[in-house]
């Protein structure tokens, strides 16, 4: 039993290699990489969750007689900085992954660290924004603008997004440590990068639908 264990590939908890030689399978547009495919499908389902939330937001907004003016609550400058931080972090991540693929480890390390840093900055900014929002009197079930739905939806949707950023930061840090120990494949890092960019993608929609429209 001991000996067999050692034969297993690193991620094969189950005793089957993740990728038995590729020629064994019928060629398909989807078969290039199994893990990546699954990541895409996961992203679709997560995107649909946020899609449903934003659809709900729009619906509730349509059935409310009025909706608060967002510029009385949020600062355009602050919002712009938040967006820039998140979009940049996703750029850094892409550059880092590219560096990794080309074997430029120093470039990878630098940009990867900056990515995580940006994520933390974004989280801090969001926490500050929530504090500001709560300070104005907004709660899940009431707010000073007379549309309790607005603050409820705001907390729920940005909270869900923030939670995704947080998990992203944790995953990236964890993988980063594993990478330092040499225990993680390039592919896993690439997948983490996909997830990170996805979190960014969601923000693009949240920004437009909740803050700007």
């Amino acid at each position: 039993m001991e000996e067999i264990r050692r034969m297993e590939p690193i991620e094969g908890i189950h005793g089957l290699p993740e990728q038995v030689s590729a020629e064994q399978f019928a060629p398909s547009a989807f078969s290039r990489n199994r893990k990546k495919l699954m990541m895409w499908i996961f992203i679709i389902s997560d995107a649909l969750l946020f899609g449903s939330f934003l659809a709900v937001y729009t619906f509730e907004r349509f059935i409310s007689p009025s909706w608060p003016d967002r510029w009385k609550i949020f600062e355009p400058g602050y919002l712009a900085v938040m967006t820039v931080v998140l979009l940049s972090s996703s750029t850094f991540m892409a550059v880092a992954v590219e560096g990794l693929k080309q074997g430029k480890n120093r470039r990878f390390g630098f940009f990867y660290a900056v990515t995580i840093l940006c994520g933390i900055v974004f989280l801090a900014m969001q926490a500050h924004e929530w504090a500001h929002f709560i300070g104005l009197g907004a709660r899940l079930n009431t707010n000073p603008w007379g549309v309790p739905l607005f603050s409820g939806l705001f907390f729920m949707i940005t909270g869900f997004h923030g939670f995704h950023v947080l998990t992203g930061v944790l995953i990236l840090s964890f993988i980063g440590v594993l990478k330092l120990m040499g225990k993680v494949s390039d592919e896993t890092i690439e997948l983490a990068g996909m997830y990170w960019s996805f979190v960014d993608l969601v923000w693009v929609f949240i920004l437009a639908v909740i803050y700007l429209l």
């Binding site: 547009a29 290039r32 659809a55 592919e187 929609f205 429209l213």
Partner: protein, 103 residues
């Protein structure tokens, strides 16, 4: 074992491309927030268009959707956009009716 399942056939993207995409994203963001803040005419349509442009850049470049094969691109884009679009469109259609009734 490290490269089991890794696949390096993907074309290499130069940092220049990423910088260009980043610059574009910044411009789009700036314009979007400006439009919303100043409340220019057609602002909602504009914001939605800019939002989609940003989403395109992020998903196609940063998430490398551009390098996937066409059927996958189609499934991802259609799967998400159609499903959310339908959900949105149909329940908002109903929402408009609800608000009309309550007036």
């Amino acid at each position: 074992m490290e490269n089991l399942g890794s696949h390096t056939q993907e074309p290499i993207v130069s940092p220049k491309t990423f910088i260009l995409v980043w610059v574009l994203l910044m411009i789009l963001t700036g314009f979007e927030i400006f439009a919303a803040y100043k409340g220019i005419p057609w602002k909602n349509e504009l914001i939605l268009a800019l939002m989609l442009a940003q989403a395109y850049l992020v998903s196609f470049y940063f998430m490398h959707l551009r390098f996937e094969k066409f059927p996958l691109i189609l499934s991802v884009v259609l799967g998400v956009l159609l499903t959310v679009g339908l959900l949105c469109a149909l329940i908002i259609w109903d929402g408009i009716h609800i608000i009309q009734l309550s007036r």
